[in-house]
Assembly symmetry: C2
Homo-oligomer: 468 residues x 2
Amino acid sequence: MDEVLGKPTMISRVLLRLLFLSFTLNVGLVSRLIYEYDHERGSSSLHTTDAEEKQSYTEFCLGEEASKKTRESTTMSTAAADHEAYVSESSPSLSTEAEEDGKEKVVNLDHGDPTMYEQFWQNMGDKSMVVISGWQSMSYFSDIGNICWFLEPEFAKEVRRLHQLVGNAVTRDHHIVVGTGSTQLFQAALYALSSSGAFEPVNVVSAAPYYSSYPSVTDYLKSGLYKWAGDAYSFKGDEPYIELVTSPNNPDGFMRQAVVNRNGGVVVHDLAYYWPHYTPITYLANHDIMLFTVSKCTGHAGTRIGWALVKDKEIAKKMTKFIELNTIGVSKDSQLRAAKILQVVSDSCEHLNSREDSKNFFRHASRLMAERWDRLRDAVRQSGLFSLPEFMPESCNYFGEANTPHPAFAWSKCEGGIEDCESFLRGYNIITRSGKHFGAEAKYVRISMLDREQTFNLFVKRLSNISL
Amino acid sequence: MDEVLGKPTMISRVLLRLLFLSFTLNVGLVSRLIYEYDHERGSSSLHTTDAEEKQSYTEFCLGEEASKKTRESTTMSTAAADHEAYVSESSPSLSTEAEEDGKEKVVNLDHGDPTMYEQFWQNMGDKSMVVISGWQSMSYFSDIGNICWFLEPEFAKEVRRLHQLVGNAVTRDHHIVVGTGSTQLFQAALYALSSSGAFEPVNVVSAAPYYSSYPSVTDYLKSGLYKWAGDAYSFKGDEPYIELVTSPNNPDGFMRQAVVNRNGGVVVHDLAYYWPHYTPITYLANHDIMLFTVSKCTGHAGTRIGWALVKDKEIAKKMTKFIELNTIGVSKDSQLRAAKILQVVSDSCEHLNSREDSKNFFRHASRLMAERWDRLRDAVRQSGLFSLPEFMPESCNYFGEANTPHPAFAWSKCEGGIEDCESFLRGYNIITRSGKHFGAEAKYVRISMLDREQTFNLFVKRLSNISL
């Protein structure tokens, strides 16, 4: 209910207590009903698939040829989702399903759908629930006093609070621009940093291996403002450029810095993965343009909310203008939900280094990631199929201890003379993304570490049985 | 609560009754607290404005020169909003404020912010409330079996149901593509209908007066796929083209048909205003691409949800691809909320022509629009300042009676030799949008009819006192 109540006055604080007493009577029933409804919804979603209509999904992250397998796999992982979200780990039906691996089930780890966090949020229960009345947030406008006029003040407040607590980025003296995910903000930055009067489109570069969506998202509209110019390492000449620095990097998880460092260039920092569960927080980022998203921070990819921290006022204005022209602002409902989610994450920070520190979101997630990476490395040792990147522990300013990075993706290189790693794994019904989409060799694949427990279990089990 | 409960099983139906009994105890307190919170929030939003930071908003719909006035006006209308949403019409404080008009208050009717519907939705109370748990809709995917893989099945179901009830558009044999408002869907359609292999960008045309955003939204990225080519009436030559047909038209409210009708052309129908409260439903639309949005249908502009009904499967796939590249899908939270809102509107249709037919959303809204148009025409008669478009009554298939159109905008022509109507009205602190943005003369202005009651009252009062 907190979302509706907000910051109550003296009177309403009293009313809030009364309401809470009465409301607790309902909680048991509510959660029971949530279970009923979603269990139903989950299972029904398994039966509504229509073979004739399924090609579109493959266009998201995948080549057409992987279409059929992907659809099967996603159907499976939808099933897994519904089980995991509402059935305890010890459920016999689930464990039986996990044991038997007939290899015919497709394991899809191509895209970074962060569904591994569902369990944490289910454990949070009503704390992370939002309630939105029919008459709320109907206007186009959120905060007319702000450069970003569609930014919900509550969301902005929680963004600043979380960065303050984690210590991963400066928000003071930066403007916040909210976006429909960081993909929209990336395009807003390109628009803001390019000049409509320029004779030639500005070059957009990133050091390989770079995020596989950068080329297509830069070029799909054949814009006269900017164009994809490939690997930053091989960018020559003295033309103006925009360099994208993803740190930690997608796909390989290493911390990054700009590599071109020339006059007439500007840098956009994509810090989507610069959170304590993926990498040690080693410095307080204070770049001109920094992009973040709830998808990778809290796992709420379906909410489509990202934010940019922007130092220069005119750039913030131009990014806001892009989002105005592109989608006339950003959903208020999603901003309200994201505000609530970030608030719960910030509140959970109080448990850090306490006896209940598994209630701390970052501690919980960082243990999950560490455990998954250990299991992956074990499986890889058994099969000898891959080589994986090695990371050194570093002191994390958030956890106050030395931590090893546990990236959201495993950037894996096939050994034993396998030239096309993606095809090789597809032979085992394991869908990954080929290195060639990242400006690297086909020997490499990117493997998501963020999928549901059941999918990840099936993956390591199958992997450990592959021997060269 | 319905959103969480969904379609309960036998067991949960019983639980639902128990829950409802217990929950009703809270309703009084909840609504009281909502009032407390929002009243607070409203008034505080009046004090947080910072003069130095306010230019950005003017970029939405307005020229820079109107900046200051617009900001003042919006501050006012924010104040009005908070009053109107939580204080009864008969509140003395409100009526006093409405009576006195010192002319120094800016009345901003430039943009079509559909806040007039807030009152209806407040009256709906909990019926239109959505509750979203922290673990819901976390994945990127909604319906893997669908061409539009990020379309929430519940939203799709309610879209089809509403069109079926209203009879304004065919949904059978059409694919639904959901978008972040119809602005994103408009760009998705341009992307889907243009060819990346074409030597020249395809011409995008619309008959003047056309929607003022079409030129800028078509050209802001200087795309090599499509380019704005102006008024469809003056489009000559045999190059390929895309014609945008807005019907009823924004700004003038008249029903429209394609005007170019040549080979090598395709038509996109923007039917955002083809609903019974704006115009009689005279035919069942069955075009290849039809765009709709909740902003203008139910007033939920802040939710940023629109939908396209698309006949051709390949076009639907390409539109889906655009939205995938642009924002990686559409917020699940907003789709769930929009589904709930559309469900309430459809449910309210049962009251049509009953004794309680003011509970029918379209009847309620259509009476409001008719009453506003009457008051506008009275004020115009008194001042003699404008001429307004005249509409003939037509038989409405939805209401089952003859109705006169009452468009969302008043397309007004200044008389008495006034050449620049927008500037003239700004002299009276009335902000409108000049005809020149719509490919028409500066003698014309577009005036929003959808703003909050208090703003509209102030407008007609002030207008009736202007005499030539």
